[in-house]
Symmetry: D3
Subunit: 291 residues, 6 copies
Amino acid sequence: MKNNNQNEIIKKAEVLTEALPYFSKYVNKTVIIKYGGNAMGDESVLKTILQDVAALKMVGVNPILIHGGGPEINAMLDKLNIKSEFKNGLRVTSKEAMGVVEMVLCGKINKQIVSTLNTLGAKAIGLSGKDSELIKVEKLDDGSGVDYGYVGRIIKINSDILNTLKQDYIPVIATVGVDKDGNSYNINADIAAGAIGGALAAERLLFLTDIDGIRKDEKDPKSLISHITVGEIKKMIKEGTISGGMIPKVNACCEAINSGVKSVEIMNGTIPHSILLELFTVEGVGTMVTN
Amino acid sequence: MKNNNQNEIIKKAEVLTEALPYFSKYVNKTVIIKYGGNAMGDESVLKTILQDVAALKMVGVNPILIHGGGPEINAMLDKLNIKSEFKNGLRVTSKEAMGVVEMVLCGKINKQIVSTLNTLGAKAIGLSGKDSELIKVEKLDDGSGVDYGYVGRIIKINSDILNTLKQDYIPVIATVGVDKDGNSYNINADIAAGAIGGALAAERLLFLTDIDGIRKDEKDPKSLISHITVGEIKKMIKEGTISGGMIPKVNACCEAINSGVKSVEIMNGTIPHSILLELFTVEGVGTMVTN
Amino acid sequence: MKNNNQNEIIKKAEVLTEALPYFSKYVNKTVIIKYGGNAMGDESVLKTILQDVAALKMVGVNPILIHGGGPEINAMLDKLNIKSEFKNGLRVTSKEAMGVVEMVLCGKINKQIVSTLNTLGAKAIGLSGKDSELIKVEKLDDGSGVDYGYVGRIIKINSDILNTLKQDYIPVIATVGVDKDGNSYNINADIAAGAIGGALAAERLLFLTDIDGIRKDEKDPKSLISHITVGEIKKMIKEGTISGGMIPKVNACCEAINSGVKSVEIMNGTIPHSILLELFTVEGVGTMVTN
Amino acid sequence: MKNNNQNEIIKKAEVLTEALPYFSKYVNKTVIIKYGGNAMGDESVLKTILQDVAALKMVGVNPILIHGGGPEINAMLDKLNIKSEFKNGLRVTSKEAMGVVEMVLCGKINKQIVSTLNTLGAKAIGLSGKDSELIKVEKLDDGSGVDYGYVGRIIKINSDILNTLKQDYIPVIATVGVDKDGNSYNINADIAAGAIGGALAAERLLFLTDIDGIRKDEKDPKSLISHITVGEIKKMIKEGTISGGMIPKVNACCEAINSGVKSVEIMNGTIPHSILLELFTVEGVGTMVTN
Amino acid sequence: MKNNNQNEIIKKAEVLTEALPYFSKYVNKTVIIKYGGNAMGDESVLKTILQDVAALKMVGVNPILIHGGGPEINAMLDKLNIKSEFKNGLRVTSKEAMGVVEMVLCGKINKQIVSTLNTLGAKAIGLSGKDSELIKVEKLDDGSGVDYGYVGRIIKINSDILNTLKQDYIPVIATVGVDKDGNSYNINADIAAGAIGGALAAERLLFLTDIDGIRKDEKDPKSLISHITVGEIKKMIKEGTISGGMIPKVNACCEAINSGVKSVEIMNGTIPHSILLELFTVEGVGTMVTN
Amino acid sequence: MKNNNQNEIIKKAEVLTEALPYFSKYVNKTVIIKYGGNAMGDESVLKTILQDVAALKMVGVNPILIHGGGPEINAMLDKLNIKSEFKNGLRVTSKEAMGVVEMVLCGKINKQIVSTLNTLGAKAIGLSGKDSELIKVEKLDDGSGVDYGYVGRIIKINSDILNTLKQDYIPVIATVGVDKDGNSYNINADIAAGAIGGALAAERLLFLTDIDGIRKDEKDPKSLISHITVGEIKKMIKEGTISGGMIPKVNACCEAINSGVKSVEIMNGTIPHSILLELFTVEGVGTMVTN
């Protein structure tokens, strides 16, 4: 042995022995990584996430990155002096606003991610829901009588292009939907990630957020739940243990499982290399949701 | 025979007999269509062009559409109050301006074309030169000592992604280049089309412009040249018969031929269905350039 | 545009736009062309038919040509002083006569068609029902007590050889049947064409005749029917609207549809390039029969 | 052991042990069998030859049968009162005579052989040199100034169709040639067999004749030569040991070897099952010619 | 014809004509040959058996050789002074004894057979039931309360390795079983051969013994049965016609048929080339058992 | 993060990030592991080695294990009272002794390793140099005039069987050689491992020994050399820095490199999980030899 002390060697051997069985488990399997929301702005966090994604590709896993927008969209809407109204918690989206959202999401954020992955040695391809009609939607009608404008409800995932690309490339998907006439729509990125994962029967779907996962007691960080089933989630919502902003997130998890994803994880994407730790260690990070 | 008169029937049979041999010639072959510049704004022209492109795909040809920007880019630069300076006929491009160019080109124009092709029954995928580092560039240095900012010179085409897609999809390429550090660059769309055509050993490269082709006498529309060689072009430039704004265009033709495209056409894209007429009739339209 | 006037260009573009969707429809599909009977003698008609067949092959369609005999058979029977007797409208066929029929059909007519197709740039292969037992028959027994000699009823089509050849060659089939002991039999060429079409699940079966199709009123050329179903044919026979020599022809159409051909056409093969017009124009020629 | 006596068992085991290595030698290999001339008329001989050919196919060898005409051609020419003239030992062939030759060869003899092979359980396909232009010829000009009419010299073998068929079918080839305009020609069947064998790089070419092979002393049946080289043949011709009617036959052997056949055999086809004995026993029958 | 007399030629042709149809029957089919027991010691018998096995491989059959031990095992147990006890006719096998059995079977006999096959031009691979857990067993418990030690009952055949090898190699299998913890077990070689044959849906399983087959009357050599069904065997056991040491052998035959082998043969392996005679002659040798 | 402290997490992430690039490097590559000699007896060491080998297989590497004998061979020779004589440092091997060596090596040690790998979830196949004539040898003649008996010199590696197996199985090779007559020979296991590695163009060859590697100063454990070239080794031997028992080992390394192995490692196999540490950490263990 060269310059390592004996302890470190034993430690390394243990981590390797622990990680090895997971590699074979994920080789040639599809792993969806959804990243977005508040954490979107932090460049250093994004960097380690993309490093992990590129590393996954190199060991033979097929990662697919799905992203939403971030502060840049609002900044551009402001610059162009386009105002937004919110109804029932949803942004009412005009054609003009949707044009700006799409332009920033597909022409700026998506291409930056693609470019960074490429400089890390991967071969990434940027897609929006318009490409090959990947995310087909119809205008949202929630029965409330409110016209939300260009806000869509996903009706079909055309996953052919992902099957074509996933072996040799990393698809990076901007969550814009398209209707039958070719119009662009705002969609919920978590729901889109679940629907795409379902269409591909993905092995894993990782929601990279800025929280550690689901807690038994929202206020106690030590009450983090490692593993939960869809049934248990529904019970916790009913009992009010899960509430507020957490509800849409866990609902997205449940929908993903129902549409065919094998397991979904709510996890803290700001921990460096959280993806590798989740996939290749026994303990993992965050809360795993399964059936 | 049903409702056609006899003459019309004979005429139809003639066109079909004429067209048939060309079909087998182009099936499974790559045909690059470059569209851009002034004509970019006219929606009805774009519509018949995209109809032809979709029709080509349906008969088994592999079309690839390459587009530049148009009036929308300048409109957005104006709205955002970004000024451009021109030196030696080239737009000096700041990082900020390049960001806007890329955003409009990749996030708006490219996605609109993709979406229209999809509504016509094709399966189109939008790409920029950043995707899988399709168009690798370095900063332009023309020896004049002028710093043009983010204006690039193409150094490599990574055509893998096009080979992966071209059988089942129509790739639609926004001509943005990327350097080794992932920065975006303005590039000449004609040169990009030629380089991509060369990398794919394309059967045909069609430059859809708003002129009919090369004329022996620039002022005489009847002097249109049907076929010309690279050698003859060089001679005509030397003699001054080809001059002015035509020179960069014919130079792009010559570079495309040199890089491996079998034949290049300068043709009038505003003639309805000019692509079909060019590919499937004996006479064709425009000026064909070969070695 | 070069030497065409503007109108002609628009016309051509229209024909091409009309024809294109049909190309993709027929590529790699099997189209059976049955040619025979009275028209068999006219060399110039045969020439444009074979040109169309060769052209189909070139654009990726898989045509199969099925032919009967013609005046040459009777001429040879006369020269060799072999007499024929007719009973119930069928030629009673002696072993000696059958030998002559087969010899002329397979050794003369079939090889001439093959040879002409080859000079047109196609690769044709001549077959009879004996090759690989393509058309297996048994001796006809119509219950009338008449012995028709070597007249056969088709009991099986061995289409393997056609599947082997149809991709790269044009099979040209002389309609001679073979029984389990290797004897040759006279068969109805229309029925044979339908049975072969059914065995191959052919996309189209074109009966090239010297009439325009089925008429509502036999005496009124303007009453030509464009499209008719098997059910409607049966009704028209019952009502007496279809009668006489037309009945065996339409019955052959119905049998072909029943055995699996997608659509059958009775059409006038003497119209130049009638095959192209039928396959690649909206209106087509003749009467189409479907289920 | 059941009903065999001990000696017979040992004998059988010996023949099997002797034959086995040859099977693997010929599996998937092309063996050309040329049959024709005088022996053509004897039905019982033909029967055991075709049994052997069918048996070869069943054990995985790819036999190709090439035949000339026989007494039937002259009988038909007589019946139709067509006279033939001979010059320099070659039949001067009129267009009319050639028509009859082709008709009998392709429409009668060829189809009979095909039919018999099929009843023996093989799948045979009859071909003439016209099919897919298998045997391309030009008019013979031997420099003597004599016009032999439709007598051809082979200029090209288009063996594609044989490669397509030989795996699953037994091609049975009537030796008629075709020129660039589609005309039929009389050709030497031995030369045709050699040229086809060469084009396919055949493992073996068997000339089934009615003589036992080449003799050292033409009058002494015990002087049969088992194996001879092209060089030795040339020497024997020079010395006059091989003379007369034997010369064209041995010349055909030499040409076959030169064009790429691995070994050629002159053998007595009238010995029952001579083909099996030649291929699967150590001693074989006849005279083998190699380089 | 060369040096053979006429009679011998006819005889040879007959054997070949008889053998040919069988070749195609067995090409690419799996034939299991079980050899063992008393005959194991005779080197000259083994030699002709291995010659036949190598010859089968050469003609495209896929033979698999399964062998038990022989006198060498007892000799080695004696040398090492290891005693064996028998209970209920089975050798009680200690761990120590099993180690010796395995060592001799896999390290000596198996490798000698492999080596001899290789010198005969085949490519043989030696396997035991441990390789890739080919023969998975559990400790035998026959309900008698006796502990037989390392005597196993087969519970699973992992035939993957045989499917991988059988095309290009001759697998030679020493009948040692392995339990879930990797321990070695003594097993009945006949039962193992049947189970392996069943797992591979073998065409034939040949038990090479030193008797001629099953007799109607055990004492009358002329009463040999050529063909018998599983049902008839059961009846003969019940009636006492089959008795004593023959019972386990015929039971192994019945089990093999039940597990999926198409036909099983009890035959005399000491007849030279008995395998070839069985497979390639109409009469065969021994008694064939089928369903 | 669940129960790990922050430091441990960072440590794990580091090891994973370090290991990941190596996985893709070795996937589908051949890694030869040679184990033998003194360390052969220690069961616990063997266990962690086989665990690593099984783990390699699971992550898509193709390991091949090559082993020599150990104390068991001498124990058996003693029991059977077979004496050995040594000349020039080589064991003179009688036929009788060789039989025992082969029996223990192939029938005992090899099968135990195979069995252990199988219980670890891998599919292992035991081979000796006799199987498919994997290791072809001739009798050693070192020019000294001494007859060493059955001691062989490797003349050819027939690696076909390894290419067939390595994708799905772990080949475990007992180093016995075979001559053209099928006789068994004693061979140097290190040389055999190098020759096999060369024949397969192996990525890595790991010599698992009980020393840490090559030292600059034999007496100073801190002078371990991490990387050395063949040229440097030769120089060190010449200078006497490498001497004694180390010389044959480093010579085997050099021969392996010369025959085509990409890199060879002398390393301490008694360090737990040394194989994983060598392959998947930057520092590795032992001394690497390359060209």
